[in-house]
């Protein structure tokens, strides 16, 4: 609750900051301070001190899982600010508003991770989406940005329509919007309920960019200003997954036989399309878009497994994925040329950045000693524990092997290809943040206990 309210409030604060403060650095400071505050209050809430006592009539419930995820999300956003906040200046003049919107998105994320009523889910998803439409289009002179935002908007509201229809049907079947409707209904689920569930599955898949509802992702991620791509490809996507797993855990927990098959199909399709298509990309940005689809496919395994391990794993996965991707994007933003050849000879001129980028890429590829490996490992473990059909696991693993192909292309470009120095200047602070991030990725990869000691829920 703390984070929810304060993020909303801080959004407003930033809107005023935009008017009152002239210097952009000051605005940035306010934003970063806000994130720190959010982090603090959220950690406080984990430890049981709730600042605002609001009776939500059981529509919102912050359990440990939600809070932990919120912490992760806020932390990632903080890191994201530290690394890339400076680069938002280049996007447009409404510097403060961007921050405000991001804070609103965080507010929405808090809703999506902790809803107990479909109404809240709906509102949360919308609060997340609408600012994203805007951030996508925020580079107003850039046709790609415009196009991306329009596409995103049209397809997004279309999927909202689907979701609402699903909710309506469910309401018809159960007579309530509460996700904890009586299991008596779900014993012999009516056609209405199933249809509603499927529609929700579709719309959530859309938001999480899972095949075959992923088509908006590459275009939007590619067209949006890279700064914001970084944000929406990581934290937002992860949040949607938490909402996803909540919805299917709470509402449809007893209907697994009905949806397991579809989740499996979607997972396979996502892994396949994401990985295979990424192979042939020429632009790293677009490759990362596809890779985010592929990673989503892996996260989907947690939904398939739907057990405690899966939840832990999803959190770990979020951390690994967000950290690595944010790091890579932060470097990518600095580069002029977003194609693979843009990285040629990078290691020669920016050894430190190259090294950290390599670590992030290895983590994404799921190489041991990085958090990425453990998270994938967890997903596979959870899936195996949940069901005995290995074909899914083996498929996922083969796809992971393919993913190595495109991630390592970047490494090859950086280390083994000659290229001219793309004169980029980075602040020491940036460097050190990046290094710390890389170290975190490694540490979580070797001593996951540091996290698991939190994770008891």
């Amino acid at each position: 609750m703390n984070a929810l309210i304060i993020s909303a409030v801080w959004g407003v604060v930033l809107m005023f900051a935009g008017i009152l403060l002239q210097r952009k650095a000051a605005v940035r400071m306010v934003a970063i301070a806000g994130m720190l505050l959010l982090l603090a209050v959220n950690v406080l809430e984990i430890n049981g001190t709730i600042l605002f006592n609001v009776d939500t009539k059981g529509m919102i419930y912050f359990d440990r899982f939600a809070l932990l995820f919120n912490t992760v999300a806020i932390l990632s956003t903080l890191i994201y600010f530290l690394l890339s906040a400076r680069d938002m200046e280049k996007v447009g003049i409404n510097y403060a508003e961007y921050f405000a919107l991001i804070f609103f998105i965080v507010c929405g994320i808090c809703l999506v991770t902790s809803f107990k009523s479909l109404l809240i889910l709906f509102l949360g998803i919308e609060i997340v989406s609408i600012p994203l439409y805007i951030l996508t289009g925020s580079d107003k002179k850039n046709l790609k940005s415009n196009e991306a935002s329009l596409k995103y908007f049209l397809l997004g509201s279309f999927s909202t329509g689907l979701m609402l229809m699903g909710i309506a049907l469910m309401y018809g079947a159960t007579g309530t919007f509460d996700t904890r409707f009586t299991p008596g209904v779900s014993m012999q689920p009516s056609a209405l309920l199933i249809a509603g569930m499927l529609l929700l599955l579709f719309s959530m898949s859309f938001k999480a960019s899972l095949a075959p509802f992923h088509f908006w992702t590459p275009d939007v991620y590619d067209g949006a200003p890279t700064v914001f791509t970084s944000f929406m490809a990581t934290i937002v996507k992860a949040a949607v997954f938490i909402g996803f797993i909540r919805l299917f855990g709470d509402a449809f927990g007893l209907m697994q036989p009905q949806w397991k098959l579809f989740v499996a199909i979607i997972t396979v399709a996502t892994l396949f399309i994401g990985n295979i298509t990424a192979v042939f990309q020429q632009s790293v940005k677009r490759m990362l878009a596809y890779s985010s689809i592929a990673q989503a496919g892996f996260m989907m395994l947690s939904l398939f497994a739907m057990n405690a391990e899966a939840k832990e794993g999803l959190l770990l996965y979020t951390i690994a994925y967000c950290f690595a991707t944010i790091g890579i994007f932060a470097v990518l933003i600095k580069l002029k040329d977003h194609t693979f050849s843009g990285f040629n000879g990078f290691a020669r001129y920016q050894p430190l950045l190259a090294a950290t980028t390599t670590i992030f890429l290895l983590s994404l590829a799921g190489i041991p000693l990085t958090a990425g490996f453990l998270s994938k490992f967890y997903m596979l473990k959870a899936t195996l524990a949940a069901s005995n059909d290995l074909w899914l696991v083996i498929f996922a693993v083969l796809m992971a092997a393919i993913s190595v192909y495109y991630y390592f292309r970047v490494i090859q470009a950086m280390y083994f290809k000659e290229g001219e120095d793309s004169k980029i200047e980075v602040s020491p602070a940036f460097k050190w943040t990046l290094v710390i991030l890389a170290v975190l990725v490694i540490v979580f990869g070797i001593f996951p206990n540091l996290l698991f000691s939190w994770f008891y829920f």
């Binding site: 439409y133 289009g137 415009n146 596409k151 908007f153 509201s157 329509g161 909710i167 309506a168 309401y171």
Partner: protein
């Protein structure tokens, strides 16, 4: 009224909306079709709310069961309004740049 009628009616409207989205290429009209879909949902919700209310009213005449459905419709309208403001803004921005609202011209980003 049998609830099925409402279900079919709203599904029909919903699908008409989808068909509109599929067949038209004017961004504004596509957006209008989406609004149509939302309205179909609204209708359905109201119908369901009345249905549940009827079910509950048998036991107790003064029940308020079903209000939530109608309130949800209210919220949908709120959101729809918000979406419209943003959406139209985006479309206008688009129009400023390429002087067209034809979605077929949205093909810089592909593959």
């Amino acid at each position: 009224m049998p609830i099925n009628y409402y279900i079919f009616l709203s599904i029909a409207l919903f699908c008409i909306g989808i068909v509109g989205v599929l067949t038209r290429r004017n961004a504004i009209i596509i957006f209008m079709c989406i609004e149509l879909m939302l309205n179909a949902v609204n209708l359905l919700l109201v119908a369901f709310s009345k249905m549940h209310h009827l079910k509950a009213a048998v036991a107790n005449a003064a029940t308020t069961v079903g209000t939530d459905g109608q309130l949800f419709v209210f919220f949908i309208m709120v959101v729809a309004a918000a979406e419209v403001s943003v959406g139209l803004a985006i479309i206008v921005m688009m129009y400023r740049n390429i002087h067209s609202v034809d979605v077929n011209f949205l093909n810089r980003l592909k593959h």
